[in-house]
Assembly symmetry: C2
C-alpha cells in the first residue's frame, strides 16, 4: 500500500495505491498562499479517514510518494525553490512529516516529473523511452525522459523549467524574474491580466465572465474578437514552448497535460500542425498526445516513485 | 596519429593529432555553397601534403575525426540534416571517403559537439561534468554534457539545436522554418540584414563598412546609434538563448565559443550579469566562460571522438 499525494497550485490530490491500482482517491482545494505546513495537516486528516474507511493499518503502508509544484532535490527529499506557491516549503522537512504522521518513508519529486512517470508507465507514454511532457495549468510545468530515464540534472532541475523557456524576449514579466517565459505569456495565472489589459476588454463578450481557459475557448468559438486573439496568442506560445522542448531534448513523443487540456480538442490539433510544419525533425513525424490518464497520472507516478526507491515490485 | 577535420561554414580546419597534441594544423576557406564532395577533395590534398611533410605513412593513421555543421547520426556516421550549408552532405558516404583517401576508419559528429568535447577534455570545461556550450558564429550551434556524458538523444539531435530555441515568437524568419530562433535574431548570417533593414542605416557610421560583429562592436563603441541598438539586441538574444539552455539542461558551467567570441570582453560580462540576475539557480552561481582553446577545441574534440570510438589511449 502506497499513499500518493499530488500537491498542486489549485488542488491537492490524495490516493491510496496498491499493486499499481488506485483503490481510493480524493482531492481538496489547495491553499498554496497559506503554506505547506497547514495544508499537510489537512491532508493528514483526510488520509487517516481514507485509511480507516479501508481498515488499513500503518504497518501496511510501504511508503508515501509526493509530487510538489517546485524544484525538488529528490535525493535529500527537499524543496529547493518555489515560484509564488507554498513559500514555506523550502526548508520544510517532508520526510519527518511522513514519519510522524504515518511511520512510513516519504519520497518527494517535482509534480510534472511524477505526472510524466505516471503517463510513462500507465498512460500515453507506454512503450516509449524518450518523452517530453508539458503541463498547462496555473503555471506551466515540464518533465523529460531520455533514453528510458527521467532527466534529473546536476541540481535536479533539468527538464522541469519548460514553463520558463523564454519565447518572447521583450514580453510579459514572469514571477521568475525573466520576461516572456511560456507561463508568463500563457497560463491560468496570467490569463485574466492578458484579457483585462487589452483595450477591447470593455464591451467584449467575455467581460465580467469567469476569466479561465474554459471561458476563453467558449467565447472565442462565439466569435468574441478579444477571446480569439488571446486564444491564438496562447496557442502560439504553447506551440513555441513545445518546439523549444523538442529541439532541446529530441523526444519521440510529446504529452500535454494539466487542467487547460480539458480543451485538448482545440489545443492538440493546433500544436500538432505547428510541430509538423516547424519543428526540425529530419527523422519523421512526432506525435503530440494529450495525457491519457489526467486524473491518475500524478498519483500513479507517485506510486512508481515509491516503488522504484524502495525497489519493491511495480 | 589521428586526422582531425572541423568543417565549418566559413573555414575548414585540418589537424594532425598525436597523443592529444596537435602536431600540425592548417585551415582553408570553406565553400559551403559548393558542397561537401568538392570541399573534401581539396581537404584530401591538403592532408596528403601535411602527411608527406611529416613523413607519416598511411598505416600510422589510426582514424579520422570529423566535425560537421549539421545534425549527424554518429552511430551510422551520416549527416541527417543541414541548414543551408553543404546541401549534398545528406547521403554522402563519409566513411567510404575516409577509407578511399587514407585507408582509415572515420568518425563523424556534430561540430558543436566536438568543440565541446575538446573544451571538456582540454579547455574551459576540464573537471566539470555538466556543461552547456554555445558557439556564436555564422550560425549558432550548441552541445551539452550531462552527468559526464555527451547528450545525444533518440535521433542524435539533443543539445544541438540551441541556436533554434525560439526566443522571439513573432521575430525574424529562420532558415529552419521557425520565427525568432536565436540564430535568426543574432548571428553572422543575419547581421547584415539586421543593420541594412533599419531606417537608421543610411547615414550611420557603420554604413558601407564590413557588416560583421567586429565592426558592430567597434562602431557601437564609437557611439553609432544603430550599432549600439543592434549590439544590445544581439546581446539580449544570446543571453535569452543561454538562459533557455541553462533552464533546459541544469549545467554547472556555460562555455561560449565561435568566431563572434573574439569580442568576449564585451559578451561574457553582459551574459554573466543576465544569468546572475535572471536564470533560475537556487543552488548558487553559474559561471559563463569563453572557450579556452578556441583554435584547438574542435580538432582536439575530433581526436577524442576517434580515441573513444576506437578505445585506444586518450
Amino acid at each position: 500500500m502506497v499513499i500518493a499525494i499530488d500537491i498542486g497550485g489549485t488542488f491537492i490530490k490524495i490516493g491510496l495505491v496498491k499493486d499499481g491500482i488506485i483503490i481510493e482517491k480524493t482531492s481538496i482545494k489547495a491553499q498554496a498562499n497559506i503554506g505547506i505546513e497547514i495544508s499537510l495537516a489537512e491532508v493528514e486528516k483526510i488520509i487517516q479517514s481514507l485509511l480507516s474507511k479501508h481498515s488499513i493499518s500503518f504497518n501496511e503502508i510501504k511508503g508515501i510518494g509526493v509530487g510538489f509544484p517546485g524544484l525538488v532535490d529528490s535525493a535529500k527529499m527537499k524543496v529547493l525553490s518555489v515560484n509564488d506557491k507554498y513559500n514555506d516549503a523550502v526548508g520544510f522537512d517532508f520526510v519527518k512529516w511522513g514519519e510522524d504522521a504515518f511511520g512510513a518513508p516519504l519520497f518527494l519529486e517535482n509534480d510534472a516529473r511524477i505526472a510524466l512517470l505516471g503517463e510513462w508507465k500507465h498512460g500515453a507514454g507506454k512503450g516509449k523511452n524518450n518523452i517530453v511532457m508539458l503541463t498547462l495549468g496555473t503555471g506551466v510545468g515540464s518533465a523529460v525522459i531520455i533514453e528510458g530515464k527521467p532527466l534529473i540534472g546536476k541540481h535536479f532541475q533539468a527538464g522541469n523549467l519548460g514553463g520558463h523557456s523564454i519565447i518572447n524576449l521583450n514580453g510579459a514579466k514572469c514571477n521568475c524574474g525573466n520576461r516572456g517565459c511560456v507561463e508568463a505569456e500563457a497560463s491560468t495565472w496570467r490569463l485574466a491580466e492578458l484579457l483585462k489589459s487589452d483595450t477591447r476588454y470593455s464591451g467584449s463578450l467575455i467581460e465580467g465572465e469567469e476569466l479561465d481557459f474554459k471561458s476563453l475557448f467558449k467565447f472565442a468559438a462565439e466569435e468574441c474578437d478579444l477571446s480569439i486573439s488571446v486564444r491564438d496568442h496562447c496557442l502560439n506560445v504553447w506551440a513555441a514552448g513545445v518546439i523549444n522542448m523538442i529541439h532541446a531534448y529530441d523526444p519521440e513523443l510529446v504529452i500535454l497535460g494539466g487542467g487547460i487540456m480539458k480543451s485538448a480538442d482545440i489545443i492538440i490539433p493546433f500544436i500538432q500542425e505547428k510541430v509538423d510544419k516547424q519543428a526540425w525533425l529530419p527523422w519523421g513525424k512526432l506525435k503530440v498526445l494529450p495525457s491519457k490518464i489526467p486524473n491518475r497520472s500524478a498519483l500513479l507516478g507517485a506510486y512508481y516513485l515509491v516503488t522504484t526507491n524502495l525497489k519493491f515490485n511495480n
